[in-house]
């Protein structure tokens, strides 16, 4: 079981109009569990995923912090070492919208065997066999190898993309909005598949999504991102039943539920800040109902409650 440790990770984008602090001091560790990263658009959750893959596009850069796999800071690896030892072998990713990025002019088989060629020098019959196994693993028939992407339905394409991410048996799989483009019945099928793979292959899934309902179907630990910061993280039960950060609390009250009492949904007034010039102090303070003087001037540290932690000054006394 691999241990992932992210410490004070900062990813900034240096644009012509200013520095966008997309991920600004995120820390967490993960071992043998699945993690969900939830946040609204622009909160930096996809950037965090890309940083773990060392795939931050220009003009972005990881400016500080460390990402360690079993104690080795993988950010110190050069690109060649990262590509041959880490990416796709230890950490792989199901990219957002990847099912629509399959190359239309190559067969599924061709595209599935590509990572084998580049990362494990497996070619010919062996590669074919491994790709067929990978397809069966995600519940597809081996005859899919000869098909082209346009012949597949959305759910089938998503399964192919999942098979690709798993083909080199990584320990950690980052899944960025893996079900967002799918209809609800297919979404349930894909989540069932991810659950099964997690159990059978012993992988840790890091699921990135804006959907707090989908995330609760899969992960053990939930982290909530707001404006580039991980404002709260803890066991799923704690986050859903006893959220500490006001943002988490408000967000959960905005989720419509299918059963139970029909409670009034809440919205959070205001809009997320511009990450070129985030507000001083706590970044949530302009929208927070419990805002105090200290929130406007000083950035709250993590306050810990057994295994849950949140960045909010409300808990200063209790800490």
């Amino acid at each position: 079981m691999v241990e992932l440790e992210v410490d004070n990770l900062k990813v900034h984008f240096f644009t012509s109009t200013g520095t966008v602090r997309a991920v600004d001091g995120v820390s967490f560790s993960l071992k043998g569990k699945s993690l969900g990263i939830a946040g609204e658009s622009g909160s930096g959750k996809t950037t965090l995923g890309l940083a773990l893959m060392n795939l931050i596009p220009s003009p972005g850069r990881i400016v500080s912090g460390s990402i360690s796999l079993d104690g080795n800071n993988i950010l110190q690896f050069n690109e060649e070492k990262y590509r041959t030892e880490v990416r796709w072998r230890q950490i792989s990713m199901i990219f957002q919208g990847a099912m629509n990025a399959l190359n239309p002019v190559y067969t599924i088989g061709h595209q599935l065997m590509e990572p084998l060629k580049f990362h494990s020098e497996l070619v010919g019959e062996k590669a074919r066999k491994k790709a067929e196994d990978a397809l069966r693993e995600v519940g597809l028939d081996a005859s899919m190898m000869q098909r082209y992407p346009h012949e597949l339905s959305g759910g089938m394409k998503q399964r192919v993309v999942i098979a690709m991410a798993l083909i080199l048996r990584p320990k950690i799989v980052i899944a960025d909005e893996p079900t967002t483009a799918l209809d609800v019945i297919v979404q349930a099928q894909v989540i069932n598949l991810l659950k099964r793979l997690e159990r059978e292959l012993g992988i840790s899934i890091i699921m990135i999504t804006h959907d707090l309902s989908v995330i609760s179907e899969l992960v053990d630990i939930v982290g909530i991102m707001y404006a580039g910061e991980l404002v709260e993280i803890g066991p799923a039960e704690q986050i859903y039943n006893n959220p500490k950060h006001p943002y988490t609390q408000k967000l959960l009250n905005a989720v419509p539920r299918l059963h139970g009492k029909r409670t009034k949904l809440e919205s959070i007034p205001g809009i997320p800040p511009d990450l070129k010039s985030p507000p001083p102090g706590c970044r949530f303070h302009p929208r927070c109902p419990y805002v105090m003087g200290i929130c406007k001037v000083s950035t709250p540290p993590y306050f810990t409650f057994t295994d849950q932690k949140a960045t909010c000054w409300l808990y200063k006394e209790k800490a």
């Binding site: 609204e40 658009s41 339905s153 959305g154 759910g155 089938m156 209809d183 609800v184 019945i185 297919v186 979404q187 349930a188 099928q189 989540i191 069932n192 659950k195 099964r196 804006h210 959907d211 707090l212 309902s213 989908v214 609760s216 179907e217 899969l218 992960v219 053990d220 939930v222 799923a236 039960e237 986050i239 859903y240 039943n241 408000k250 967000l251 959960l252 905005a254 989720v255 419509p256 539920r257 299918l258 059963h259 029909r262 949904l265 809440e266 919205s267 959070i268 007034p269 809009i271 997320p272």
Partner: protein
């Protein structure tokens, strides 16, 4: 009693022909159709929110457009306040266009980037000749902006869409419908592009306008949780047909049609204990192409309860109990007996 209903659709259909290539024409192959909406009937009460729920490609948007006369009907009849909308022309049609409005899913695409908020709101007034003086129009525009909480209006009038947040844009799109005093609004996935934290405010706005301005909505969505939250009545669509209809709470708590049951099985809920169980969804596979709809009941290849009659004949929509309609042989006692044999 007809007056209780603002809009009544009877057996409406919209079939889109699939383009034939030259060889098809030379060989006189028959024209194939995508039956986007096929023999659908529904009634929307005054002042209610009727929610149309379905997966992508089921025809829910096409049905919404038919009710707005954005498409011509291929069959059936739609009446709006008792008038057949397929025959209205000229002045009457323009009047219908004024009172029946639409809000689209994507507020980034539905607003002209070169129009300021004032232009966006003034254009419909100009087209429909509402308000003779600038002052009069300004009053109407201000009132609409206040209704959608773009306050103070002066601050927003000169802004272009790119200077507004997603939620503000969607509110501007709502204000654009309000300036014309509509009676009926088709809201096509109005919150699915918005972040969770601002969805509720748009939905609340819909509720308050429904009460204050007595607006009737057709709300189109793929999300059952939202449907339950906003809806008075829910209609579930599958491959061009409404398969179940009823009061929102009844449909959610006690679904009748196997398709509705499967949809409800599949909806994720914000409850972490769900991760320890696998979701058992009663139907298998994926929605077939609407260009190639299975015979009889279109759900039969995926349905666990399908029996001999299902692939042969489509089950008519029947009233099952008070206010509950479903089209499934499971609820026809005489037919179910056949099944038992």
């Amino acid at each position: 009693m007809q007056d209780d209903y603002l809009i009544v659709a009877e057996n409406v259909s919209k079939w889109f022909p699939i383009r034939r290539d030259l060889s098809d024409i030379v060989l006189r192959r028959p024209i194939h159709y995508v039956k986007a909406v096929d023999n659908v009937s529904l009634k929307i009460k005054r002042g209610e929110i009727f929610v149309l729920v379905g997966e992508s490609g089921c025809g829910k948007t096409t049905l919404g457009k038919l009710l707005l006369k954005a498409y011509e009907l291929d069959a059936g009849k739609i009446t709006f306040e008792g008038n057949d909308i397929s025959v209205v022309k000229g002045k009457k049609l323009k009047e219908f266009r004024r009172v029946a409005q639409v809000i689209f899913q994507d507020p980034y695409a539905s607003l002209d980037p070169r129009f300021t908020a004032w232009d966006v709101l003034n254009e419909p007034l100009h087209i429909h000749n509402v308000g003779s003086t600038k002052e009069e129009r300004q009053e109407i525009i201000f009132r609409a902006m206040e209704d959608v909480k773009l306050i103070p209006p002066e601050d927003f009038l000169e802004r272009f869409p790119h200077m507004l947040s997603g939620g503000q844009r969607q509110r501007l799109a709502m204000a654009r419908t309000l300036v014309l005093e509509p009676k009926f609004i088709v809201a096509d996935e109005p919150v699915s592009m918005l972040d969770l934290s601002i969805r509720a405010e748009i939905l609340e706005l819909m509720f308050s306008l429904k009460h204050r301005r007595n607006i009737t909505y057709l709300y189109i969505t793929h999300d059952l949780s939202t449907a339950r939250y906003v809806g008075d009545t829910i209609g579930i669509m599958y491959l061009g047909k409404i398969v179940e209809m009823g009061r929102a709470s009844d449909v959610i708590e006690n679904p009748l049609h196997p398709y509705t049951q499967a949809l409800l099985d599949a909806v994720p809920e914000p409850d972490p204990s769900n991760r320890f169980k696998e979701r058992h969804v009663r139907i298998t596979g994926e929605i077939p192409s609407p260009a190639n709809i299975p015979s009889g009941c279109s759900l039969h290849p995926r349905c666990p309860y399908a029996f001999t009659l299902c692939p042969v004949k489509y089950p008519e929509m029947k009233q099952i109990s008070n206010g509950r309609l479903a089209s499934c042989y499971l609820y026809e006692p005489t037919v179910s007996d056949v099944k038992a044999d």
